[in-house]
């Protein structure tokens, strides 16, 4: 008999996220992966600055709150402190990972640092009230792009998986989303693989999760999930961007 239960690695506390936000789903997927791999006791999570800043109160494993954008550097320290026994993940939004923390992201990937990065891309700064993100789409209206993002003035969105895939370093890069049941199950598979890679010592895995922000997008939760299908996925195609172990397998 299968009983639906809360994962052990997710504490039984109320989350502060807005209604319709997909952070809760992604937290759950991370916690399920930690449970299934039996690694809660050796896992250390690194929370970002942004909406998920208080993730340290939600995960049952040891947690560290990092400065804005610095989670991959903090995670590098935690991993190097005890590479044999520490499983380390970062959980970062688009402003954290792809704007202020871009250098830390790129260099952790280039070093193939043996950590797992969960990257939440919702195309906006949520915590501060809906400003333009490095991943905001062309034409997207935000508090700081009130006439729509104009690429002539503020450039184009950064496609993180595509960009990192050009590096020799990283082991695994995949973009997923959680806007329907099928996609949630697929995201779970990717997150699980990202942790397994670390356990097997394969190196840097980053899972980009296209996520919704109904509050700052000014949409109902259901319309926000549709917007992922209609606007985000065409710009940020889902799929595996790098899987070094699989490539080696093919080239044998």
């Amino acid at each position: 008999m299968v009983v639906f239960d809360k994962p052990h690695a997710l504490l039984d506390v109320p989350l502060h996220y807005c209604p319709g936000c997909t952070h809760g789903i992604i937290h759950r997927l991370v916690a399920e992966a930690i449970d299934e791999l039996g690694i809660e006791g050796k896992t250390i999570g690194v929370a970002p600055v942004g909406c998920s800043v208080m993730a340290y109160d939600y995960f049952a494993c040891d947690m560290i709150e990092a400065a804005h954008g610095r989670a991959p550097a903090v995670a590098t320290g935690v991993k190097r402190a005890d590479p044999e026994n520490h499983i380390v993940f970062t959980y970062q939004g688009d402003g954290d990972l792809a704007s202020i923390g871009m250098a830390e992201t790129v260099h952790a990937a280039a070093r193939n640092e043996n950590i797992t990065v969960i990257f939440i891309n919702n195309a906006i700064y949520g915590m501060t009230g809906g400003q333009m993100a490095p991943t905001s789409l062309p034409g997207q209206v935000t508090q700081t792009s009130p006439y729509g993002r104009d690429p002539k003035l503020c450039g184009y969105p950064i496609k993180v998986c595509e960009m990192l895939s050009e590096l020799e370093g990283p082991e695994y890069l995949e973009r997923v989303t959680v806007n329907n049941v099928k996609n949630v199950r697929n995201a779970k598979r990717a997150i699980l693989k990202a942790f397994k890679n670390q356990i097997e010592g394969k190196g840097f895995s980053l899972i980009e999760v296209l996520s919704s922000c109904p509050t700052n997008w000014g949409m109902t939760p259901s319309n926000a999930l549709k917007w992922i299908d209609e606007k985000m996925i065409p710009y940020y195609p889902l799929g595996v961007y790098k899987d070094r172990s699989a490539e080696k397998e093919v080239n044998k």
Binding site: I64, A67, G77, R80, A81
Partner: protein
């Protein structure tokens, strides 16, 4: 007597850190402290430690934050412009009560400045360096031997008080060679039950964090931290006095400025001028007591600095401005000569001002 070896100040810091049990070093190239990183790059891989050249000073201090969270001894070193970049991390280390050692081998500023020795990061170091209410324990070596000794002491104090200890050296201290003995007794490393090393499913999760959205909780953290700082001030203030007992004129100088000033004091004494010197070894906590005491008999103080006059404010505060304090300085990478300091002493002795 223990064996002595001839070492550069920067190398002495690196070797002493290893001696103190530090097995994690993160840094970014900058003159004039490069020998610290070079030494660590050579030695760490041979002893199972980590040397990692980070992508930036910012990344390096955050890697330090990660290792410190796990309760291990960890350090980074840099020079003035690099320390400015580490300012964010220094504030987070303080806010999360993490022990770490940070070395600043100062060079002249502001901006890119130069690469010659300076003491112009005194304010930055003694007032915290980043945003928010906090202090670091700031140690100012005046010899290569002290570069080594204070590095070990820095790790011990950092662990004991859950603070960042900073070695505030300068380009001269980093580059000069002197005989060093590395034969120190180590204090036992305290338990760190707060460290994030995995719950092993045997305890509640530990959280390393500096975010407190409720202002009363944040206030309490600040008040608690400052209670701890009072204990540091009471127990860990260090200084050296030289010929101050009968002094009419008292020089305040640390680091290389104290080495230069000592020569000037000796020369002035030969000329019959009653001069002494107080050399702060901890710049925070600042040794107020010997200055208060000296202010009872001294007619004047002279602060000798490689800056536009920063420590002079602490001398004025410590003496409560009861006695005039003048500045004898060079800046921008220039070093005062013993002759310049002697001139400053003579002027004051003849009733003038500097």
């Amino acid at each position: 007597m223990a064996d002595k070896v001839l070492m550069k100040g920067n190398e002495a810091i690196a070797e002493a850190a290893i001696h103190a049990g530090c097995r994690h070093y993160f840094g970014y190239p900058i003159t004039p402290q490069t020998e610290v990183a070079a030494y660590m790059a050579k030695v760490m891989p041979k002893i199972g430690g980590t040397f990692l050249q980070a992508e930036s000073e910012i990344a390096a201090i955050n890697m330090v934050y990660g290792v410190a969270s796990c309760g291990l001894r960890v350090m980074t070193s840099s020079s003035s412009p690099g320390i400015s970049l580490k300012g964010e991390g220094l504030s987070y280390l303080a806010g999360s009560d993490l022990p770490a050692l940070v070395v600043n081998v100062q060079r002249g500023g502001p901006g890119l400045g130069g690469i010659q020795p300076s003491q112009s990061d005194y304010f930055q170091a003694t007032r915290g360096g980043g945003h928010g209410d906090y202090h670091m324990i700031v140690l100012a070596p005046s010899s290569v031997q002290e570069m080594a000794e204070l590095t070990v002491k820095g790790f011990e104090l950092a662990d004991k008080y859950r603070m960042t200890a900073m070695i505030l050296a300068d380009g001269t201290m980093g580059q000069m060679m002197e005989p060093v003995s590395l034969d120190f007794e180590l204090e036992p490393v305290p338990e760190k039950p707060w460290a994030t090393t995995g719950t092993k499913m045997a305890r509640e999760h530990n959280i390393v964090n500096s975010l407190y959205l409720k202002p009363d909780e944040l206030e309490k953290g600040n008040f608690d931290r400052y209670e701890r700082y009072k204990i540091v001030e009471a127990n860990e203030t260090r200084y050296e006095e030289y010929l101050t007992n009968d002094a009419d004129i008292v020089i305040a100088a640390f680091g290389i400025a104290a080495r230069v000033s000592r020569n000037a004091v000796n020369e002035a004494r030969r000329l019959g001028i009653k001069v002494g010197m107080i050399r702060p070894i901890t710049l925070w906590p600042f040794p107020k007591a010997p200055f208060e005491k000296a202010a009872e008999h001294a007619k004047a103080f002279i602060s000798v600095e490689l800056s536009m006059g920063q420590m002079i404010e602490d001398v004025e505060l410590a003496t409560k401005c009861r006695v005039p304090v003048s500045l004898c300085n060079r800046a921008g990478g220039m070093i005062p000569s013993p002759a310049q300091v002697l001139d400053c002493i003579k002027k004051i002795a003849n009733g003038g001002n500097n």
